[in-house]
């Protein structure tokens, strides 16, 4: 149970961004496991069912909550000229801050900015980000869990990472 509850909480917290909501999701998930009993063909089936039910319950919890925080991602994505080269007022945001010293990257302020940026992602994007980057599932597995195509999963993941990158760049890029 400990192994599964750790996964359930990580995913539920990743989507809801609330420890109280994640705890309620974990309770609901385990109640469903108990009711389903031995109806699973194996550990793999149980594992992916747990991810799927956790994702659905977490998204339901989020429905109607804190929507005002969620950002339109379009404002955080790169812009291009018709010929595909960079354009617009965000074109300058290409500072390479990746070699910023670790203590600065991991400072309270960087962490706060990153966490706020994660909070502001639309919840379906956050679900994909956590399943792929935290739980390290394949695109195929994530697509199955969220009930979407692999192409849609890849697009959401890429847009989510670009939005986080942009917000970090606005802070870290200034000093790079």
């Amino acid at each position: 149970m400990t192994r599964y509850s750790a996964r359930v909480f990580r995913l539920a917290y990743g989507i809801t961004r609330s420890a109280a909501d994640a705890e309620e999701v974990a309770q609901d998930v385990f109640l469903q496991i108990v009711h389903k009993g031995a109806g699973f063909e194996g550990r793999a089936a149980l594992g992916s069912w747990i991810y799927r039910i956790t994702t659905n319950l977490s998204l339901n919890k989020r429905r109607g909550k804190r929507r005002e925080l969620e950002t339109s991602l379009d404002d955080l994505l790169p812009t291009y000229l018709p010929d595909g080269h960079r354009a617009g007022d965000r074109a300058f945001l290409v500072a390479d801050w990746s070699r910023t010293p670790e203590h600065e990257l991991l400072s309270d302020e960087s962490r706060r900015i990153l966490e706020a940026a994660i909070d502001r992602l639309p919840e379906h994007y956050r679900a994909v980000l956590v399943l792929k980057d935290v739980e390290e599932l394949s695109n195929e597995e994530v697509a199955q869990i969220v009930g979407d195509t692999i192409a849609a999963v890849k697009t959401r993941l890429h847009r989510a990472r670009m939005a986080l990158r942009e917000q970090l760049t606005r802070y870290l890029g200034a000093g790079a």
């Binding site: 909480f9 291009y80 080269h85």
Partner: protein, 77 residues
């Protein structure tokens, strides 16, 4: 390859799921385009930092509460 096309495939590039000819084309673009090189470096770092920030583990006391909750529910059935 344009900047837009290069940025569009960065996720696949980091995943290692791109066909070799597209990898070669992207790497040619990166060799000539400093802004896209910077974008790739910061995109990669963002993924790393984002993974750490989004990974929040279940507190020990919550594990205990969850176990107790399930035992109580099972006893009530």
């Amino acid at each position: 390859m344009t900047c837009r096309e290069a940025i569009d495939v960065l996720g696949d590039y980091l995943d290692g799921t791109m066909p070799p000819d597209v990898v070669a084309e992207l790497e040619r673009h990166l060799a000539e385009c400093a802004p896209c090189r910077a974008y790739l470096a910061t995109y990669r770092k963002t993924r790393e930092l984002g993974t750490t920030a989004a990974r929040v583990e279940m507190p020990e006391e919550m594990q205990v509460r969850l176990r107790r909750f399930l035992i109580d529910r099972l006893r009530a059935v």
